[in-house]
C-alpha cells in the first residue's frame, strides 16, 4: 500500500469574485521512501495542495472533492484535534528559510525542544535535549550552537535548524515548500544535498514544492507538473525529462539553458495562465499550447498513460 494516495482532490477558495478553483481533480500516489517534486508557476495550486496535506488551509479554503489517503486513512474529514496528532508526528513541513520561521527571542535549541515536548509531553527533559543534540548532528549543525539565537546563525544554518525541527518527531512524510528560496546558490546546493541525504538515510517520503525544475530534480525521483490547478504530467524524473509528453512540460523544460555547446535561444511559454474563478471548459493550457487541436478548447482532457508510471493530461499528445 502506498504511503500517500491522493484521489480526485479538488480545493477551492471562497473569494469576493466567486469560487476560485485552486486545485482540481488531482490524483497521484507516493510510496514510502519515495520523493515527489511538484513544479509549476506561481498560482498553479502547488502550495495549496501542500497546505491541504498538512490540514493548514486558510479559513476560506475548502476541500470540495476527493480523498487524501495517508496510511490508508482519509485525512479529508479529520478534525483539528486529529490533525494535531498527525502534524509533526506523521507529516511535517520545511518552511522557507525566512527569519520568521524561527522566533528571534528564543534559543534555537529550545525552540526545537519545545516542538518535541508539545508532541511528546511524556518525554523527560533530559531525553528531549539529547534528542535535540542528535538532530543537530543529523542535519550537520555543530552541537555547541544549540544555545545560540537565530540571528547568530547563518542563512544555511537556520535552514538546517528548520529541517531539524521538521524531523523532530520522526515523521514519515515531509512537505518542503520552496525551502531554498532566499538562499545563495552554494548554500542552496548544500541544503538540497542535505535533504536528499536525510531522505535516504531515514527512509522519509518527501513532497518537494518549487517553481524551479532544476531544484526539484536535485532531490526528487518523481516529478509532478502542475498547471492552473491541475496535475498535467506525472512520472519518474528520467522519463519526464527525456520523454516529456505534455506540451506544458515541454515548454517548461525549454525555459532552461545549458552551459555547454552553442548558446541557443530559450523558448519561454507565451501568454498567461487562465483565471481560476472561471476556467475554460476544455484544456486549460490550450490558449498557450503550440500543438493544440480543434477539440482542445471545448473538450476536457483525459489522462493518457505513457508508461507504467508515467501519465499526461492531454488529448492531443497520445
Amino acid at each position: 500500500m502506498a504511503l500517500l494516495e491522493i484521489e480526485g482532490l479538488s480545493i477551492g477558495y471562497g473569494t469576493r469574485n466567486g469560487l476560485l478553483r485552486a486545485v482540481e481533480d488531482v490524483s497521484f500516489t507516493l510510496e514510502a521512501g519515495g520523493s515527489l517534486g511538484l513544479v509549476g508557476e506561481s498560482g498553479c495550486g502547488k502550495t495549496t495542495l501542500g497546505m491541504a496535506l498538512m490540514g493548514l488551509l486558510p479559513p476560506n479554503g475548502k476541500i470540495m472533492a476527493g480523498k487524501i489517503l495517508f496510511e490508508g486513512q482519509d485525512l479529508k474529514e479529520s478534525t483539528e484535534e486529529q490533525w494535531r496528532k498527525i502534524r509533526w508526528r506523521k507529516i511535517s513541513m520545511i518552511f522557507q528559510a525566512a527569519m520568521n520561521a524561527l522566533n528571534p527571542v528564543h534559543r534555537v535549541g529550545d525552540q526545537i525542544a519545545e516542538a518535541i515536548s508539545t508532541h511528546r509531553p511524556e518525554m523527560p527533559e533530559r531525553e528531549i535535549m539529547e534528542r535535540v543534540a542528535e538532530l543537530y548532528r543529523l542535519v550537520g549543525i555543530p552541537v555547541e550552537r544549540i544555545k545560540d539565537y537565530p540571528h547568530q546563525y547563518s542563512g544555511g544554518m537556520r535552514q538546517r535548524a528548520i529541517i531539524a525541527m521538521a524531523l523532530a518527531c520522526n515523521p514519515r512524510l515531509i512537505i518542503a515548500d520552496e525551502p531554498t528560496t532566499a538562499l545563495d546558490v552554494i548554500v542552496q546546493d548544500q541544503i538540497l544535498k542535505e535533504i536528499k541525504k536525510l531522505q535516504e538515510k531515514l527512509g522519509l517520503s518527501i513532497i518537494f514544492i518549487s517553481h524551479d525544475i532544476s531544484i526539484v530534480a536535485e532531490v526528487c525521483e518523481d516529478i509532478g507538473v502542475m498547471y492552473a490547478g491541475q496535475l498535467v504530467e506525472w512520472g519518474p524524473k528520467e522519463a519526464v525529462f527525456e520523454n516529456p509528453v505534455h506540451p506544458y512540460t515541454k515548454a517548461l523544460l525549454a525555459s532552461y539553458p545549458t552551459l555547454m555547446g552553442e548558446r541557443e535561444r530559450l523558448r519561454p511559454i507565451p501568454g498567461e495562465p487562465p483565471n481560476l474563478v472561471s476556467p475554460p471548459p476544455g484544456c486549460r493550457f490550450c490558449d498557450r499550447c503550440p500543438s493544440a487541436g480543434k477539440s482542445c478548447k471545448s473538450q476536457a482532457p483525459v489522462w493518457a498513460q505513457v508508461g507504467p508510471r508515467h501519465k499526461a493530461l492531454c488529448n492531443a499528445c497520445s
Partner: protein, 353 residues
C-alpha cells in the same frame, strides 16, 4: 549587434565602505567594505555579467553606476566622463542615458501610478515628445516588451499584473529614454523560473534593437552564460575572476568560480558533468575573528577554499592578474587550464537560472 572595443563604462579602483554609526551598545563605529578596489570596464553594446552571492557587492556596484550611491574611493566613468562629480544639467543628461531595472517588480512600480503614467514619466521628466505622441511612444515600447495589445495595459495598475508583466513594464520604463547603459539588478530573482527566460529574451532583444550596453547582476552563472558576453565573478567585495563568459564557464580557473559552477542546480543528462569540489565542507575558523582582526590582509575565499595553502593565502591578498588576454583571476594558485575539456559535457544537461 556588434560589440566594439570601445568602453562605455570604466570602474577605476572603486571602493565602497558603509559605516554603521556608533550606537549605545557598540562604541566603535563599524566599517563594512562592500566593494574593494573594483576595476573593470564594460564595452559598448555588451552585456556584462556580475556574478556573486548576496553580500558580494554586486548590487552595490550597480547602484554606484546609476548614482543611487557614491563611491568612497575611486572613479566611475561613462563615455570617458567621471560621473561622481556630475551636477545640475549634466546630471540630468546622465540620468537620461543610464537606467536601472530593479530586482523586485512588486516594489519598483508605484502602486498608485497607472502603467501608462509609469512608462511615460521619464519622457515627461526629460521633456521628450508632447502629449500627442507620448502615448504612441509608450504603446510602442509596451509592444516591444511583449505586453500586447499595449492599449489594454495603459490604464491598468501594477497590482493587476503578474510579476512577469510588471517586470516587463519596468523594462519598458527603463528603455523608453533609449539609454546607452542599463543596469539590470537580478531582474528575475523574484520571478518563476519559466518567466525568467522571457525576461532574458527581452533583454537580448533590447540590446539588439537599441545597441544598449547592459550590466547584468545575477547570482546564477547559468543565467550569466546565457545572456552575457563577459563575466566578472565577485566575492566579498573583490573581483575574483574576469573574462569572456564562454571561457569562464568552460575553463574556470578560480576555485570560487568552480565552486559556483558545482553548486548550480541541474537536470537532464548530467551524469558526466565534472565536479570541481573546491569548496570546503566546513569553513576554516579563526582567520576572520583572530588576532589583529581587520588589519591582516588575506584572500577572502581562503576560509572556504580547498586548494588554498595557508602560508600564502592567509597572509596576503592576491592581485587580479591576467592569465591570458582578457581573462584575469585573483588567486595565488590558479587551477590548471582545461583540467577537463568536456566539463559540463552534455549539452542535454540543463541548469537553473
Amino acid at each position: 549587434m556588434e560589440v566594439t572595443g570601445e568602453h562605455i563604462v570604466e570602474f577605476e579602483g572603486v571602493t565602497k565602505i558603509y559605516k554603521s554609526k556608533a550606537s549605545l551598545f557598540s562604541r566603535s563605529s563599524e566599517e563594512v567594505v562592500a566593494l574593494r578596489d573594483l576595476t573593470l570596464n564594460i564595452r559598448k553594446g555588451e552585456i556584462f555579467g556580475l556574478v556573486g552571492e548576496s553580500g558580494s557587492g554586486k548590487t552595490t556596484a550597480g547602484r554606484l553606476l546609476v548614482k543611487l550611491e557614491e563611491p568612497t574611493e575611486g572613479v566611475i566613468k561613462l563615455d570617458g566622463t567621471d560621473i561622481t562629480k556630475l551636477k545640475g544639467g549634466r546630471l540630468k543628461e546622465f540620468r537620461r542615458n543610464v537606467q536601472m531595472i530593479f530586482q523586485d517588480p512588486y516594489q519598483s512600480l508605484n502602486p498608485q501610478v497607472s502603467i501608462f503614467e509609469a512608462v511615460c514619466e521619464p519622457l515627461v521628466i526629460h521633456g521628450i515628445g508632447n502629449s500627442g505622441n507620448r502615448k504612441e511612444m509608450v504603446e510602442e515600447m509596451l509592444a516591444l516588451v511583449g505586453l500586447s495589445p499595449p492599449e489594454d495595459f495603459l490604464a491598468r495598475y501594477p497590482h493587476q499584473l503578474s510579476g512577469g508583466q510588471r517586470q516587463r513594464v519596468a523594462i519598458a520604463r527603463a528603455m523608453i529614454l533609449k539609454p546607452t547603459m542599463v543596469v539590470a539588478d537580478e531582474p528575475t530573482s523574484m520571478l518563476d523560473a519559466s518567466i525568467s527566460a522571457q525576461i532574458f529574451n527581452i533583454l537580448l532583444d533590447m540590446r539588439e534593437r537599441f545597441q544598449v550596453s547592459i550590466l547584468f547582476i545575477t547570482h546564477s552563472l547559468a543565467a550569466a552564460r546565457y545572456l552575457c558576453d563577459r563575466l566578472g565573478v565577485i566575492y566579498k567585495g573583490s573581483l575574483m575572476e574576469l573574462g569572456p563568459s564562454g571561457v569562464i564557464i568552460a575553463e574556470p580557473r578560480h576555485p570560487y568560480t568552480q565552486a559556483l559552477i558545482d553548486a548550480l542546480p541541474k537536470f537532464g543528462q548530467c551524469g558526466s558533468v565534472f565536479h570541481y569540489g573546491t569548496l570546503l565542507a566546513e569553513e576554516r575558523r579563526g582567520i576572520e575573528d583572530g588576532e589583529g582582526k581587520g588589519t591582516k590582509e588575506f584572500c577572502p575565499f581562503f576560509p572556504r577554499c580547498r586548494p588554498a595553502r595557508a602560508e600564502k593565502c592567509a597572509n596576503a591578498m592576491p592581485r587580479l592578474e591576467n592569465l591570458s588576454p582578457g581573462h584575469a583571476i585573483r588567486c595565488f594558485f590558479p587551477a590548471r587550464p582545461s583540467l577537463q575539456v568536456e566539463t559540463a559535457g552534455s549539452s542535454k544537461c540543463y541548469y537553473g537560472i
